[in-house]
């Protein structure tokens, strides 16, 4: 019997009872109590984790603005991978589409329980389409102006090479257990592939560093940002006071806890089935809004391109717009961060390159298509005006306001979608975080329970504290993962280059057959 389970559950139940009673009894006092909790947590968070944010976003002056080195780190890596792999994301796009369509899959040789590349892509995409596309774009254009969209698109196109690279390695160096279960991701390829190349010590260090940052990333972008924006959406759609975030946090935390405690049919399985429909709903709403304002599409693209190269109204001008675009694109598509390699390593294929090529489609659809669609909706609505300093509407509230500007009822659909996206993303990231946690501390009921409780506490913290603190920490944690991942990737480039050359040669020679 898992005794530790009882205590958090007891706390949740007590909180529910108290808060409901308090809300009925004396709303003024209760509101003040929640405000003081919110401010207290916010202050504590800034005081104790501000150093981490400052360290990750260490900046150098470029023109009249400060350029975070970490943004350049990811951007330059994507450029290098694009060139090194011979623009694989563009030159092999036909091959990638062929793999997804099943052209190279033998219909008679399918293993029991095998997940096709198309299924893997749709599963990964339904997980990728989320608050990064909705709230992230809202942040990018609120601070970086419409021009940030151009840099997001560019980052998405270049990020395709990073995704190709890390997902190929994720499959190549995964661990397949006799039970059929698969473990993969940067922890494994940094450790094993680096050892193969004669850098075992450095590989172990990078794997540990990545795992540490992955834990923080799961608590930041995969948790706090989601909870924060879920409550922000409720604030926008229904006028829920911001200080009531702690209640939203506790409700979501209770549901998350029930899922990650494990082993029962849970609300996660229901959410998993609903999320793809939510993604389709979001796309449908975007297409409707753009279609209704078809006459303004040209002007919107004009504003995007103009803003990208003039930086008008943006703090830091062009560089400011670029920073926001690159930041938010990375946050949305996670290219170079390493998290995708964990998710993609579960696909059943004998050819790691095939999964790498399929993965290139992800940043394209996520960033180039969906983020651009969101940016167009926001730009067309015209609610985001200079100066772009984020002081007015930002994040999910800007996106929601822009959607409901065309059709008012859309804010309700968005509210449901945002809650679902936030919840499903938390569940996915709790798994990434738990994998990293057990990589460092080993598997065991007690150690796993510690992580799960910490994860749930951060849900409440994320929903409670102010947006600025959340976005800073979430960005810092996600970007920190890329430091260790990309150092390792530089060492491992030849492995994937050889793998790609071999695969392409075998396709050309007919050794890898076409079945369609």
């Amino acid at each position: 019997m898992k005794k530790p389970n009882r205590y958090p559950i007891g706390i949740f139940l007590t909180f529910f009872t108290m808060s409901a009673y308090a809300a009925e009894g004396d709303p003024g006092a209760f509101s003040s109590l929640l405000t003081s909790i919110s401010v207290g947590v916010d202050t504590f968070f800034k005081d104790y984790l501000g150093w981490f944010v400052n360290l990750i976003f260490y900046s150098v002056p470029v023109g009249d603005t400060a350029f975070p080195l970490i943004v350049g780190w990811l951007f330059i890596a994507a450029i290098i991978f694009t060139i090194y792999f011979g623009f694989v994301q563009f030159r092999r796009s036909g091959l990638a589409l062929g793999i997804v369509s099943g052209k190279y899959s033998d219909p008679d040789a399918k293993e029991d329980g095998e997940v096709s590349h198309f299924q893997a892509l749709t599963t990964a995409l339904s997980g990728t389409v989320g608050l990064g596309n909705i709230a992230g774009v809202g942040v990018a254009v609120a601070i970086g102006g419409p021009g940030a969209t151009f840099w997001m698109i560019l980052c998405g196109l270049l990020g395709m090479a990073s995704k190709f690279f890390e997902c190929t390695l994720g499959v190549k160096y995964r661990t397949v257990l006799p039970s059929g279960a698969i473990s993969g991701g940067p922890m494994y390829y940094l450790r094993d592939a680096m050892a193969e190349r004669g850098f075992g010590g450095l590989g172990k260090f990078l794997a540990i560093g990545f795992a540490l940052m992955c834990i923080l990333g799961s608590l930041g972008g995969g948790n706090m940002f989601q909870a924060n924006q879920a409550h922000a959406m409720l604030t926008y759609a229904f006028g829920v006071p911001a200080e009531f975030g702690v209640i939203t946090g506790v409700v979501i935390a209770a549901l998350v806890f029930s899922v990650i405690v494990g082993g029962m049919p849970s609300i996660a399985s229901v959410t998993e089935k609903i999320v793809p429909y939510m993604a389709a709903l979001y796309l449908g709403m975007g297409i409707i809004v753009i279609a209704l304002n078809a006459g303004q599409i040209g002007a919107a693209f004009g504003a995007i391109f103009d803003g990208a190269f003039t930086g008008a109204g943006v703090v830091g001008g062009v560089i400011g717009a670029m920073i926001q675009g690159l930041k938010r694109a990375t946050f949305s598509n996670e290219a170079g961060v390493g998290s995708a390699a964990i998710a993609h390593s579960a696909v059943k294929t004998k050819e790691p390159i095939t999964e790498g090529l399929v993965a290139t489609l992800e940043p394209f659809i996520d960033t180039v298509v969906i983020c651009t669609m969101t940016a167009l909706v926001i730009t067309i609505a015209g609610l985001n005006v200079a100066p772009f300093d984020g002081a007015d509407l930002t994040g999910v509230q800007l996106t929601a306001a822009s959607f409901s500007d065309s059709i008012g009822v859309f804010k309700y659909f968005l509210a449901v979608a945002v809650i679902m996206f936030a919840f499903s993303t938390m569940i996915s990231w709790s798994y990434y975080g738990l994998k990293a946690w057990t990589y460092l501390f080993g598997e065991g009921k007690a150690t796993e329970m510690i992580f799960k409780i910490i994860f749930c506490i951060f849900v409440v913290v994320g929903a409670t504290i102010q947006f600025g603190a959340v976005i800073d920490f979430s960005d810092a944690a996600i970007f920190a993962m890329s430091i260790f991942n990309i150092i390792g990737l530089y060492f491992l480039m030849p492995i994937v280059k050889d793998e790609l050359a071999s695969f392409v040669a075998r396709v050309k020679s007919g050794e890898i057959k076409k079945y369609k």
Binding site: K2, L13, A20, S179, G263, E272, S430, Y431
Partner: protein, 187 residues
Amino acid sequence: MKVKDTPIDLKKALLQKGPKFRSHTIIFNENVADLKPTISSLLFCVIYIVVGLFLLLLAVIVYVKNHQLDFTIFLGAFGIAILTFGITLVMPFVKQVTFDKNRGSFRNNIDRKVELGNIVSLQILDKVITSKNGLNYPCYELNMLTKNGRRINILNHNDLVQLKSDSEKLADFLSVELIDLQCEMVL
């Protein structure tokens, strides 16, 4: 009745999923053996029921205080959905599962009742539970085999010590053979 000549694979798990904690114990009371849900399994389901009720309560408060219909519907819909989910989750746990020597039958309100005299043996199996969003963990089944070749699951949880203890007592109670079919599991 058609007689199948396909062999029964006793080592094949009956259920794909299973909890990561002890879900039931068997309580013996003279001529009756009952499955009783544990506190932890009930608490797990209660989370959904409490969250659902809490959201419904909030919906009522919002409507009474502000007459805000849209938020009331939003909270109410989520509350009803989560509450319904919780109730459907708790149902299998509280269902009556009984081996009754007085009536000479086994009932679980899912399968057709089984005459106790038709139970041939009990088997303990192990399996690995894998999921997309969680670490792998072992889980164990106690199944019974009837003379007609039916296999029915009795227990399905992750506490092997308790499951073995319950299985031995149940085998004694029914005077049938208990077969341990566990393989070596590698997680």
